[in-house]
């Protein structure tokens, strides 16, 4: 009975704290715009209402939310094992390139073509993300540093193969040949670019929830992340848990990269790391590593992003402002001591009410 009360109080407090953190972040963007812009009202309107000004723009939000959901899920799974693996960034880039190259090298009939390309992308991501964990297990080197370095390595490797072996000489910019129509993901909502990746995402979210909550593997993963010593004590092989969590997370990141390139582009043409790995961290932190909240958090971030793009094209405020907001959101949401004095007051009130 008491236990149940405590739990609901904690949830209530967490929710309150989360809301305050998001409000502070939004307030910060408000103040920033007021300071730097010559037309603050227009900038604010574009930022907060730009995405719903037309159906097409709202479509953009959903398109981006699909990508960010994949990134968020991948990071949530990897961070659940308490591993600061940044590999999702490199995995996204490399598997987008690999999926495009695969569909060019091996033309397959419709349905099969995207299916295999996404699986190949997923495997690429899994390999990239398990390497830092493997290095850590085998030699004890920090996964954070090695994954950051490997991101650059896979970035340059992918660029080399995509833009030498598969480069389209007739293309006006640097890019691969056009991805065959059979391999592309179909558009499913008219007048937008929302593609079949949305359906794939729904399956992946459900599968991840099932994996984390209903399987022994997911249970061991959460135990290992929360308290590795205890997990070891009760007989969980934490090394294996860490390895498969990075493989599964990497696979999801790789799928995300493949879905992105097959759904949104005609060819692979990324010149820089897209930053989705880091966006995935914001999404995962906002969702508290819970897969069921990932799409919501991804939608929120996608909304801000598209709003910022509209703001940047219409006014003198650049879209990079969102990185500042993103950084603040990560730190505030993850801050253990944020509003902790309020928690005490709320607890006293709650208890005295019950007495």
């Amino acid at each position: 009975m008491i236990n149940k009360k405590k739990l609901s109080f904690d949830t209530k407090f967490e929710l309150m704290r989360f809301t305050v953190a998001i409000l502070i972040a939004i307030g910060l963007s408000f103040v920033t715009i007021l300071i730097v812009s010559h037309e603050p009202l227009l900038a604010l309107r574009k930022l907060f209402l730009g995405p719903v000004e037309s159906f097409r723009r709202f479509g953009n939000v959903v398109e981006l939310a699909i990508t960010l959901s994949f990134a968020g899920l991948a990071v949530a799974i990897m961070f659940s094992a308490n591993q600061f693996n940044m590999g999702a960034e490199g995995a996204f880039f490399a598997s987008a390139g690999v999926a495009a190259m695969f569909s060019l090298a091996l033309p397959l009939p419709p349905v099969l073509a995207p299916l295999f390309a996404i699986i190949v992308g997923g495997i690429t991501g899994a390999i990239i993300c398990v390497i830092p964990a493997w290095i850590k297990m085998k030699w004890g080197a920090s996964e954070l540093v090695s994954s950051l370095m490997l991101n650059y390595v896979f970035y340059y490797l992918t660029k080399y193969f995509a833009f030498t072996k598969f480069k389209d000489p007739n293309c006006g910019f640097v890019g691969t040949f056009k991805i065959p129509e059979a391999a592309k993901l179909a558009k499913i909502v008219p007048h937008t670019r929302i593609h079949a990746g949305l359906i794939i995402l729904v399956f992946v979210v459900i599968a991840t929830i099932f994996f984390m909550k209903k399987t022994r593997w997911g249970y061991n993963l959460i135990q290992t992340g929360q308290n590795p010593h205890f997990a070891k004590y009760v007989g969980i092989n934490t090394g294996i848990v860490i390895a498969y969590s990075q493989i599964v997370g990497g696979f999801v990141a790789g799928m995300g990269g493949a879905v992105e390139v097959l759904g949104m582009y005609n060819r692979f043409q990324w010149k820089e790391l897209p930053g989705y790995g880091f966006d995935g961290i914001v999404v995962a932190i906002m969702a508290k590593n819970k897969p069921q909240y990932v799409p919501l958090a991804a939608f929120f971030l996608a909304y801000l992003r598209i709003g910022a793009d509209k703001m940047a094209t219409a006014t003198d405020v650049t879209s990079e402002m969102i990185s500042i907001i993103q950084g603040v959101i990560i730190m505030l949401v993850a801050a253990q001591a944020f509003l902790s004095h309020r928690r005490q007051k709320m607890l006293v009130k709650e208890v005295s009410k019950n007495v």
């Binding site: 290095i135 540093v145 660029k159 030498t164 990185s323 500042i324 950084g327 990560i330 505030l332 001591a337």
Partner: protein, 314 residues
């Protein structure tokens, strides 16, 4: 290949190696000071980005190299202040805070550059002043050695002096002793009256200043001006160098020189006919391999010690 070898054996190569080691060395020393107190400074990369930006604009606006450097350090310390506030006071996981601050700095530097100069690519519209090069009297006249060691940017000499500074700070001062105590066993340190939070705060600040000097070198020495993303992982390479050097200044210096050598080699190979992408990944591959070698050597040594202890116990 023989071209490469004959180039590496020139004094010019030695000179360029010391030059490209500079920012890595500053970052690595910054990492040592922070990590020794048990507070990881992952935000080094962000420190460097902000310092590079502020230095480029600051020296241009004030027309003074000295004030440019001060502004660069102040800019870098904005990131440190946020790291301290969130990591130490709001108890956000300090590694996560560092990651968040790097994200903030990468976009924030472009955002600020646009606000101040209306340019999203570089600070080319402003004339950045470069820190002076120094000829070492006496040494400059020695053949070969003089060409390698003399005529560097003043910040390069500061970087190498910072190794001595960090060694002196950690091993010869009271503050350094406190930093190492807190890092090794915070509770024990607290029980003898050391203020954990203040010690971590000071070490993160020193770390931020060192990293900022590395960032300032990039825009006020290595290049003259800031361009987006110009730090490109050097903060992380510094982090890896400190990890390889097991947080001791001299081994970390050696690790930084190895990475600097890889970086300098990639600069030469760019001039040869090796694909650009392969050239660019050399420093990063070297870092990963270096990290693996040192970590495996360390675990091997621990194992050996344990076996030796077992043998002697029996």
């Amino acid at each position: 290949m023989s071209d490469l070898l004959s180039y590496i054996l020139t004094a010019e190569f030695g000179y360029s190696m010391l030059r490209v080691t500079t920012p890595i060395l500053f970052a690595a020393m910054g990492s040592i000071v922070a990590e020794s107190s048990g507070a990881s400074n992952i935000a080094l990369e962000g420190n460097m980005l902000f310092a590079a930006l502020f230095g480029a604009i600051g020296s241009g606006l004030t027309g003074s190299v000295f004030w440019g450097l001060i502004i660069a350090i102040a800019g870098g310390l904005i990131i440190s202040a946020l790291l301290i506030y969130f990591g130490l006071y709001l108890k956000t996981d300090i590694i996560l805070s560092g990651i968040a601050l790097n994200t903030l700095a990468s976009g924030g530097s472009i955002f600020l550059m646009y606000v101040i100069l209306h340019d999203k690519g570089s600070t080319s519209s402003i004339k950045t002043l470069v820190c002076p090069n120094i000829n070492l009297p006496g040494i400059e006249n020695i053949p070969v050695l003089g060409d390698i060691l003399s005529g560097h940017n003043i910040l390069t000499y500061f970087a190498f002096l910072s190794v001595i500074f960090v060694w002196f700070l950690l091993y010869k001062t009271k503050l350094g002793m406190h930093i190492r105590c807190v890092g090794e066993n915070a509770e024990a340190a607290a029980s003898v009256g050391i203020k954990i939070k203040s010690v971590k705060l000071v070490s993160l600040l020193i770390s931020g200043v060192l990293a900022s000097l590395g960032g300032a070198f990039l825009s006020m020495g290595y290049m003259n001006g800031f361009s987006r993303g110009m730090v490109s992982g050097r903060g992380f390479i510094g982090l890896a160098a400190a990890a390889m050097g097991q947080l001791s200044p001299v081994p970390t210096l050696i690790a930084s020189l190895i990475f600097g050598c890889a970086d300098a080699m990639s600069n030469i190979m760019a001039a040869m006919r090796i694909p650009d992408e392969f050239v660019k990944l050399i420093p990063y591959v070297t870092t990963v391999v270096g990290l693996i070698v040192i970590s495996s050597w360390r675990t091997w040594r621990v194992k050996k010690k344990r076996i030796a202890a077992l043998v002697s116990a029996n």
